[in-house]
């Protein structure tokens, strides 16, 4: 079962990461929520090259495969290649990955409403692919299921995800 807590309190590690980010978090996905139940039939697309896509027949990864029997931290951000996301949000996660692992977290996942090829190119540019698993929610279905969407049409981005973190109890 994959329980989720959206940052409100939390461990010192999460606090130091969030202090580095200087961001607030929302509690739309309430503490104690089972993510897989909240978003049934939702899949994400692992960041990959087009060739890898062809080889895998453009397969998607259901949420239960990401969460099953694992302690996973997922953080979401509005957009690949945008300023805060690239310069401030991803780097602290990459730099602190060992601390997450030491606390028993199996994987740290970054998700955005982008296609998986753009996510892949961005992850390579940030040299973060070894530390973090990047996934694309290209049609927003994951974020819509969890009510974590926001309209960034003003910034010419369209419907994107909020900036958030979800972590196990």
């Amino acid at each position: 079962m994959a329980s989720a807590m959206v940052k409100g309190g939390g461990s010192r590690l999460i606090k130091s990461v969030s202090a580095a980010l200087g961001t607030r978090f929302y509690a739309k996905v309430a503490t104690g929520t089972d993510i897989v139940s909240a978003a049934p039939n939702v899949s994400l697309q692992k960041a990959r090259t087009w060739d890898e896509g062809i080889a895998s027949k453009f397969s998607t990864t259901p949420l239960k495969d990401i969460f099953k029997d694992k302690k996973v931290v997922i953080f979401g951000l509005p957009g690949a290649y945008t300023g805060v996301c690239s310069n401030k949000h991803v780097p602290p996660y990459k730099e602190n990955i060992d601390k997450f692992k030491a606390k028993g977290i199996d994987s740290v996942i970054c998700v955005a409403v982008n296609d998986p090829y753009t996510m892949n190119a961005w992850a390579e540019k940030l040299q973060a692919k070894e530390a973090i698993d990047f996934y694309g929610d290209f049609d927003g279905s994951f974020h819509k299921s969890l009510d974590l969407v926001t309209d960034l049409s003003g910034a010419l981005l369209g419907t994107r995800s909020e900036r958030y973190i979800i972590y196990p109890p």
């Binding site: 697309q45 090259t49 087009w50 060739d51 896509g53 453009f58 998607t60 957009g79 690949a80 290649y81 945008t82 300023g83 982008n114 296609d115 998986p116 090829y117 753009t118 892949n120 190119a121 961005w122 540019k125 694309g136 290209f138 049609d139 049409s153 910034a155 010419l156 981005l157 369209g158």
Partner: protein, 167 residues
């Protein structure tokens, strides 16, 4: 997914106006209208399904970059690449072509302009959503002189080489 298609753009049509986006030198999003770039000019507009995908990056765009001087020499005022991507992604993708001097990379993030041209392509199965077909248009004084729309998965008529033949 059901999409109401506009009629596909064809030779003899007046190119529709529309707003596309890009990042300026300060990385701020800006908008530009197609008519402001195309009115009283000879322009090439070529469309690609997606930034950071292979045919687009390795063949379609480089062809226009390599032949840009030649196209300019034949009176082409603007060479515009459009894709259904946001301007941050287009800007970053454009930077992967440091040798580029003339091709403008413009973002049609919500696919509105692609829709106005009747050139949408549903690539949801590939994880891309609704994108643009691969195409190349030659437009003079807002009138479409050449409309080369590629069959899905191919790369022949929409190349720089093909459009040079029309100049």
């Amino acid at each position: 997914m059901v999409v109401n298609m506009a009629a596909t753009i064809a030779v003899g049509d007046v190119i529709p106006d529309g707003t596309l986006a890009y990042l300026d030198d300060d990385s701020k999003p800006q908008s530009v209208s197609i008519h402001s770039l195309a009115a009283a000019n000879k322009v090439i507009i070529f469309g690609v399904p997606g930034a950071f995908t292979p045919t687009c990056s390795l063949k379609h765009v480089p062809g226009f970059i390599e032949r840009a001087e030649e196209l300019k020499g034949k009176g082409v005022d603007e060479i515009i690449c459009i894709s259904v991507n946001d301007p941050f992604v287009m800007n970053s993708w454009a930077k992967t072509f440091p040798e580029n001097k003339h091709v403008k990379f413009l973002a049609d993030g919500a696919a509105k302009y692609t829709h106005a041209l009747g050139l949408e392509l549903d690539l949801t199965e590939k994880g891309l959503g609704v994108r643009s077909k691969r195409f190349a248009l030659l437009v003079e004084d807002l009138k479409v002189k050449v409309a080369n729309v590629e069959k899905v998965g191919e790369f022949t008529v929409s190349s720089a080489e093909e459009i040079i033949k029309a100049l």
